[in-house]
């Protein structure tokens, strides 16, 4: 126990991130299940509006801030980056330990916010002036959770940028990095630049609510839209903090399982990853298309938002292209990756009408938006975390999970999420608003809502099967071969499974011809 709490080993810290983020995922997932059951019929079934709003707040906040971001940039980055670049550990192991402590404290604080008398009910967006003047919930719990997670992420960003810049194995050039490493660099650059803005936004909210300032109070010279701009200035790029590493995981899994080089690697790195980082920071007003911003900026950000299709398109071409003339072996991780093509395609393409201000005047704040971002950000990235756990499971535990059970759970999960969100896409276009505890004005949507709830139950079952597979595999699974997928990447070829302290007995020397995605001459 003690050697886990006080550990500075990046692999153990990675596992701690995994456990914490899966715990957040489980609680937030139960909230989602409760929300879906409540919505099976119009009117109040068994969750009163105030409790419903708390559940909705927690589901959004925990899934994004405590599951997806830490799952990808905490767990996977910690476990894999030093192994992939041939380093003994990260640049600052004790700061890394502090990051995971902050993360765990934040999880505890977030869970505490559910136990206090007036839990926050301000949604993860925390729009003022509801959050600062009219909500009776203790918004401070949410604000401090954001502070802690933000602090943790900034420290992580500094740590991993330094690690990749200064601690690559001798001879390992920039163009010889795993694609996942590039996406993590992009994600952490975004975190480093934009988190302070989110921290500022919620701090001003805190001051308005508890200390009588008036940053967002129009009567005293404040401005309501200022908060929304500050919030989305971070929170849109945050979508790419989640999406980029997810694509990185898929690219590494495809390259390994298809034993094929990444299609157009350099273009995918510079045009794709860094294109998303650059362009993704200039599109946040598309979250404010209906919020009364000046017309000219709504039109301007419509153009930048549509142009995001270029770097994202390049990334998708590389994902699909890496399959071309490959030699694909279908492990569970590869099943998740194949399914993610569908998720990225549907989620990405439904983003195109939403990029258009004029269509969004109708679609904003409906189930269409909700289904869109669940596909592209929520489920795609969740599948990336799951694919990551399965793909590197033999590396982390030295044992094998049950492949058939893994594929069964994956199939149920995939069927379930489609069952949840396709009906919601449809009733969203017909005008069903988000964040409704009751839809008595739209009784015609009951059938769609009912099917959606069935989908949620299927997903819950699949999640139980998956977690059981992980736990039983880690305890009783058969011993895994040292390189079960036949990968040429450093973490498989040069370390034990699981890697001992310091990872590498001897730091590998990298030849200029070697590439972690190059199989044809191996």
């Amino acid at each position: 126990m003690k050697e886990w709490i006080f550990t500075t080993d990046h692999k153990r810290i990675g596992i701690l991130y995994l456990v914490g983020s899966i715990a957040a995922f489980a609680v937030a997932g139960l909230m989602a299940l409760g929300i879906r059951v409540e919505l099976m019929a119009p009117g109040t079934q068994f969750i009163e509006p105030d409790i419903y709003n708390v559940m909705l707040y927690f589901h959004g906040a925990a899934m994004i801030l405590a599951f997806l971001i830490p799952g990808l940039t905490g767990f996977l980055a910690n476990y894999l980056i030093p192994l992939m670049i041939g380093a003994h550990d990260v640049a600052f192991p004790r700061i890394n330990a502090f990051s995971v402590w902050l993360f765990w404290f934040a999880i505890v604080l977030a869970l505490l916010s559910l136990a206090i008398p007036n839990p926050p009910d301000i949604m993860w967006t925390g729009y003022v002036p509801y959050s600062s003047q009219y909500s009776s919930g203790n918004s401070s719990f949410y604000v401090f959770t954001v502070h802690m997670l933000g602090f943790s992420s900034i420290l992580g960003a500094v740590n991993f940028l330094c690690t990749v810049i200064f601690m690559r194995a001798p001879g390992l050039g920039w163009m010889q990095l795993n694609f996942f490493v590039w996406t993590i660099l992009g994600a952490f650059v975004i975190q480093l630049i934009f988190i302070p803005v989110l921290a500022a936004a919620v701090t001003l909210l805190l001051f308005d609510k508890y200390f009588g300032t008036a940053f967002f109070v129009p009567d005293k010279g404040g401005d309501v839209l200022l908060y929304q701009n500050l919030f989305w200035f971070y929170s849109h790029p945050a979508v790419y903090v989640i999406l980029l590493p997810a694509i990185g995981v898929f690219m590494d899994v495809i390259s390994t399982m298809a034993r094929n080089q990444v299609f157009n690697y350099k273009v995918a790195v510079f045009g794709g990853v860094w294109g998303v980082v650059l362009l993704g920071s200039d599109v946040w007003v598309h979250h404010l298309y209906t919020s009364g911003m000046a017309d000219w900026i709504r039109i301007g950000m419509m153009v930048t938002t549509l142009l995001i299709s270029i770097p994202v398109g390049l990334l998708i071409i590389s994902l699909v292209g890496t399959l071309y003339r490959g030699s694909i072996q279908f492990s569970t991780a590869m099943w998740y990756t194949a399914a993610s093509f569908w998720l990225i395609l549907i989620g990405g393409l439904t983003g195109i009408p939403l990029a258009m201000t004029s269509l969004t005047l109708h679609l904003a704040e409906t189930y269409f938006v909700m289904a869109h971002f669940h596909f592209i950000m929520g489920i795609t990235a969740t599948f990336a975390v799951f694919a990551g756990v399965y793909h590197w499971f033999p590396k982390m535990t030295g044992k094998m999970y049950n492949e058939s059970l893994g594929k069964l759970a994956m199939s149920l999960n995939f069927i379930g999420v489609n069952l949840i969100f396709w009906p919601l896409f449809i009733i969203g276009v017909e005008g069903m608003p988000r964040r409704y505890q009751d839809y008595q004005m739209f009784p015609q949507f009951e059938v769609s809502q009912w099917w959606s709830t069935i989908g949620a139950v299927v997903v819950a079952l699949s999640t139980i099967l998956m977690i059981w597979n992980w736990i039983s595999g880690a305890i009783w699974g058969p011993k895994a071969p040292s390189n079960p997928w036949g990968s040429v990447s450093l973490e498989w070829t040069h370390t034990e499974s699981p890697p001992g302290p310091g990872n590498f007995k001897e730091i590998p020397k990298i030849s200029p011809n070697w590439h972690p995605h190059e199989y044809s001459k191996a």
Binding site: N53, T125, V224, N264, G326, S327, L359, A364
Partner: protein, 266 residues
């Protein structure tokens, strides 16, 4: 006319439309709801084509390139510099062309939605937790239970503000919404094409009764509306309302406080 010139023409037309927007539109009967449906159809087709192309390609690759022997490795193409740039620039230009086409059509519809016809009927909307008031400017004020009564065939513009949290006024039938907030006046307009009752509702989260903040847009024939808005003898109407759904101004003023906590029942 080939596709390229259609594209350029659309961009140019949309730009001209935007430049000349200040004096256009006033006399034109401009039903942006219909235009929304048209554009939605075009965009669905556009993304459908992209989706089918990528979807079929990925599915084909997943099936065709399964591993047949254990020692088999992939043989993906190795690109020269020129080839890799071509694989970047050609798709980028295709995407960009589509983006600009979509942006131009989106901008055109945007102008339809945002430029208010001059003959529009103006209604002042006040939102609060958790009800709406519709002020017709002649002392007539409807609550959300009374509904938003509007004449058929005449554009209606809502000038909107909020007394507390941010709300959003959404009429799904007319494909339009806009937020209301304290400190700013926002607007939206719509064209009530046919007589009937249509749901309006709040779409910005505003607390406990957010999902009960709804009512009906009641579109009635123009002649009936004139009689309803400007009754021939004001005293008679004050004593006995001509129509059941019409509320008196005095009631409208007094009602919100009592109704704030009660859901809008129908």
């Amino acid at each position: 006319m080939n596709k390229r010139s259609i594209l350029l023409g659309t961009v140019a037309a949309a730009s001209l439309f935007a430049i000349g927007a200040g004096d256009a539109g006033a006399e034109v009967l401009n039903d942006h709801t219909e235009h929304w449906k048209e554009l939605w159809g075009h965009v669905l087709l556009d993304i459908g084509v992209i989706g089918v192309v990528f979807g079929l390609m990925a599915s084909y690759f997943l099936v065709a390139y399964r591993r047949s022997r254990d020692d088999q490795v992939g043989s993906g193409p190795k690109f020269s510099f020129a080839q890799s740039m071509a694989w970047a620039l050609i798709p980028a230009f295709v995407f960009m062309a589509d983006d600009f086409y979509l942006a131009a059509s989106g901008w055109k519809l945007w102008n339809d939605q945002r430029i208010v016809p001059e003959n529009a009927l103006e209604v002042k909307l006040t939102g609060r937790m958790w009800s709406w008031d519709f002020d017709y400017g002649n002392g007539k004020v409807n609550t959300n239970e009374d509904g938003l009564v509007v004449p058929q065939g005449k554009p209606v513009v809502m000038r909107m503000k909020s007394e507390d949290a941010v709300h959003s006024f959404f009429i799904p039938e007319y494909r339009i919404k806009e937020d209301l907030m304290p400190g700013r006046v926002t607007y939206l307009w719509f064209y009530p094409k046919s007589v009937g009752e249509y749901v309006f509702t709040c779409t910005e989260f505003c607390g406990t009764n957010h999902s009960n903040m709804w009512g009906k847009v009641k579109v009635i024939p123009a002649a009936e509306f004139d009689a309803w808005l400007n009754p021939p003898a004001a005293e008679e109407v004050a004593a006995a309302p001509a129509e059941g759904e019409a509320a008196m101004a005095a009631e409208g003023e007094a009602a919100p406080a009592a109704e704030a906590a009660a859901p809008a029942g129908h």
